[in-house]
């Protein structure tokens, strides 16, 4: 098969960060090519260069034998490159059809689009009710809309950025068979991911990036998952700390959480009940947008709840307490968003340390911040949790996602809390940092702390949790034993 896209010696730097350093990559017709790498390895920069969003400093690209140097994404699309982004760019309040039409060139007639749509739906099994409002669709369906928009442009190369991060197991299967079909028909697919078993299953070639450089480009069949992981991270990943058995005494006992969302497109919670024991790690799985954020905010006390809710913590009902009253009772919270929620980008690390310690009088004398003590504690977190940064005065926004996450998780764990409530603790975090964070969580649970993890990453939950329940449309399933839960159980609960 011939090369459809050749990338030769692409380099790109942003001020003093070399995002891409002499990257070469060849994409053949009919190939499903994985682009692997930790966060910050340079994957997104490379893709942005291919899609015409970023201009490279050096290097050339050749498309179908002709020099290719797109100025805008529009040029890239006209040349036959389609892109499905990780974050959807859809108009939530419009119908599927309107969204599809809006994505097309002006001169395309509606009948023509409907005709093509019909063909695509039959040929590729991309069925979706085109009259539905996008806000009512599931994440998987929204991705389908994005794919249809992309397919209508008749691309020769399709780029997908972390496409499975929002899908449930059965949707992942469907996506894979769709991509295989494209490849059979001769289309080239560039598949960006850090989920190694998916790459092993789907892709025939892998290019691994680390620190902006290509570390290896190889046949996926000829390499083990462990080797892939090692190439990606650059050093051997620590083995997991062993999980110990929890005690049969409840730390957190949620009798009922119900919540009517004031936002009409938001999710309301219906009669959620579960409990977490001493030394237990309890996972809540589910695709994003099924009530996780709402549940997190009610557990933390950021959102007040109506009467009838009962959150028992050591037999005390804490449902009417504010977030700092809960923190005083040795509960800590790590919400999903690092920048703007659990940390403030424009403030230094030591100022960010204070964010969750404002209730603690040790940090103040008569309301005046004791900056020496704050600095001392910050340095302690940086050292203990291996946060890569200049010093405690570094701005939070200057840290990479993984390092900032280590900081915000470390900031809470260092307090040796009795209960940890975290949401997506390793979201967008590189493999090395993720494994460190998992180990911290397991270690602290072994000392008797109860841990609640809300996450979309099933592999994560299955590897570190004792029990898992699934949230779907604001309803929480019964808990399953993490060792016995099957993908079928999960898919079934997610579909409810």
């Amino acid at each position: 098969m011939q090369n459809i896209l050749e990338i030769d010696g692409i380099s790109k730097s942003f001020s003093d960060i070399q995002a891409n350093n002499d990257i070469s990559l060849y994409l053949r017709q009919g190939q499903i090519h994985a682009l692997l790498g930790e966060n910050g390895a340079g994957k997104s920069t490379l893709v942005k260069i291919i899609y015409g969003i970023v201009k490279p400093d050096h290097g050339t690209m050749t498309l179908n034998g002709k020099p290719y140097d797109p100025d805008t994404p529009e040029v890239a699309r006209n040349e036959g490159i389609g892109m499905v982004f990780q974050h959807f760019s859809l108009f939530e309040s419009l119908s599927v059809l309107d969204n599809i039409i809006l994505g097309q060139k002006e001169n395309l007639k509606k009948d023509k689009i409907l005709e093509r749509l019909d063909y695509l739906q039959n040929e590729y099994d991309l069925f979706i009710d085109i009259n539905k409002i996008v806000a009512t669709l599931s994440a998987g369906e929204k991705q389908k809309v994005e794919i249809i928009r992309c397919m209508l442009q008749d691309p020769k190369i399709m780029i997908l950025d972390e496409p499975t991060s929002v899908l449930n197991p059965s949707e992942v299967e469907k996506l894979f068979s769709f991509l295989r079909k494209l490849s059979d028909q001769g289309m080239a697919v560039l598949y960006i991911s850090h989920k190694l078993h998916e790459i092993k299953e789907l892709c025939d070639t892998s290019t691994i990036l680390r620190g902006g450089k290509v570390v290896k480009s190889c046949d996926t069949a000829s390499i083990t998952i462990e080797d892939l992981a090692q190439l990606m991270v650059g050093k051997a990943i620590d083995n997991k700390v062993k999980l110990s058995e929890p005690k049969q005494a409840r730390v957190l006992d949620i009798k009922n959480i119900s919540y009517t969302n004031p936002d009409i497109y938001g999710v309301s919670l219906k009669g959620i009940k579960f409990s977490v024991n001493f030394g237990e790690i309890f996972g809540i799985a589910g695709i994003s947008g099924n009530g996780q954020t709402e549940l997190m905010k009610i557990l933390s006390g950021e959102v007040g709840t109506s009467d009838g809710n009962q959150i028992l913590y050591h037999d005390e009902d804490i449902s009417n307490l504010g977030i700092n009253e809960r923190r005083k009772r040795e509960i800590v919270f790590v919400p999903e968003d690092r920048l703007g929620h659990s940390a403030v980008g424009g403030l230094s690390l030591s100022e960010n340390l204070l964010l969750t310690n404002l209730w603690d009088l040790k940090f103040f004398s008569k309301g005046v911040i004791d900056s020496n003590y704050v600095n001392e504690k910050t340095v302690e977190v940086i050292k203990k949790f291996n946060v890569q940064c200049n010093d405690a005065a570094s701005l939070a926004s200057s840290l990479s996602g993984g390092n900032l996450q280590k900081f915000v998780v470390g900031r809470e764990i260092i307090k040796m809390p009795k209960l940890v409530v975290c949401e997506q603790p390793t979201w967008g975090v590189d493999v090395g940092s993720a494994s460190l964070i998992h180990n911290f969580l397991i270690e602290i649970s072994n000392t008797g702390s109860a841990i609640l993890i809300i996450s979309q990453d099933l592999d994560e939950l299955r590897s570190i949790c004792h029990r898992i329940a699934i949230i779907s449309n604001g309803v929480l399933s019964k808990p399953y034993d993490a060792n016995r839960i099957t993908p079928q159980d999960i898919a079934l609960e997610m579909a409810k």
Partner: protein, 356 residues
């Protein structure tokens, strides 16, 4: 077409360069303006911006004019940092003047060192009450605080007029719409004999120091900074966004009310309908020109005070219209916003394409 893109890394030195560039651009603008209307631009700029600094009288007037500007801007800067937009400081200033002035008049002709502190307290309460109205509507019904606070300015002006034409009118004043002149116990002491420079300026200096300390070292300043950067992080830290709305209006209302009573018990010396002269609006420019930093506000307050005094001098000496002060202030704010946009964003030119 043009496209504005936010820069990822912003040079820290822009803290100083942005105000200086804005001042430079505004000077160039008025230079050209004077040229166009046939006045000698160098002479005009000298009279407006340099001459007031060369005499004791000019300097003392600078102190008098900058005092309310600095005090009001200090209060506003808290809300502006936290993302709460109080545009109605003029109204809170007017109510402060009215409440404080009425208190002083109530004790006429009694003497006592306690009269001024008490009237200051009442003025501050008045400013806070007036600020609480937009804060309450914002917190309770999520109304736009910009509109409500701005509209209340006009209500405050009319309320002052109503009182001065009515109950507070000087009984021996031949029916002129003005109050009795304040007696000695209701007048601020002068710091430099023979001028109008009063101890209100010392209060402004103390407040600059206090605000600087609170913002840098105190829990209160920490909340203000977190709120400005991210309201969600503020909630996560344990404070509601409504807390910040109330706090911002309490502080800016209190400061504006204080500035009001200082003005009437200082240079004005009585209540007249023309108490609101726009200090509350000019203070918005002062706050931003000073980069919402107490020390910056101190210097910016002087510059804007200079435009008032210089504008009056230009009116007398060159026959320029009084509007020159407003023109310069407007151009300054405009240049400031533009300079800030150019430092925080890059402009890229894009070819215009057939379809969007």
């Amino acid at each position: 077409m043009f496209k504005l893109q936010k820069k990822e890394i912003i040079d820290q030195s822009s803290l100083y360069t942005v105000p200086l560039i804005a001042i430079g651009c505004s000077l160039i603008f008025v230079f050209i303006l004077f040229l166009l209307i046939g006045k000698n631009p160098i002479l005009a700029i000298f009279i407006i911006f340099i001459e007031p600094l060369l005499s004791i009288f000019g300097l003392s007037e600078l102190i008098v004019k900058s005092t309310p500007l600095i005090i009001i801007a200090l209060g506003l800067s808290i809300g502006f940092r936290a993302g709460v937009w109080n545009i109605g400081a003029e109204g809170q200033y007017t109510i402060g003047a009215l409440f404080g002035g009425a208190a002083i008049l109530a004790f006429y002709p009694n003497n006592g060192i306690w009269i001024l502190p008490l009237s200051f307290f009442i003025a501050i309460v008045g400013g806070i009450l007036w600020g609480m109205i937009p804060a309450f509507f914002k917190a309770r019904f999520n109304t736009n605080e910009i509109l409500v606070s701005l509209m209340l300015t006009y209500v405050a002006t009319l309320l002052l007029s109503g009182m001065v034409y009515g109950p507070l009118k000087n009984p021996d004043g031949f029916n002129f719409p003005e109050s009795r002149l304040f007696h000695d116990s209701g007048t601020l002491p002068i710091i430099f004999p023979g001028t109008r420079a009063h101890i209100g300026f010392l209060i402004a200096i103390i407040l600059v120091g206090l605000m600087y300390y609170l913002l840098k070292k105190h829990k209160f300043g920490y909340h203000v900074r977190v709120s400005g950067e991210s309201p969600r992080a503020l909630v996560f830290s344990g404070r509601s966004t409504n807390y910040m709305v109330y706090l911002s209006f309490i502080i800016s209302g209190a400061f504006a009310g204080l500035a009001g009573v200082i003005e009437v018990s200082g240079p004005v010396g009585q209540l007249v309908p023309a108490i609101p002269v726009g200090y509350g609006f000019t203070a918005i420019i002062v706050a931003f020109l000073g980069r919402l930093n107490p020390l910056g506000i101190f210097f910016a307050g002087f510059l804007l005070a200079l435009t008032y005094i210089g504008g009056e001098a230009a009116q007398i000496r060159l026959g320029l219209p009084n509007a020159i002060t407003g023109v310069f202030q407007g151009v300054l704010l405009f240049s400031l916003l533009a300079a800030e946009a150019f430092t925080n964003y890059t402009i890229s030119l894009k070819k215009i394409r057939g379809n969007i």
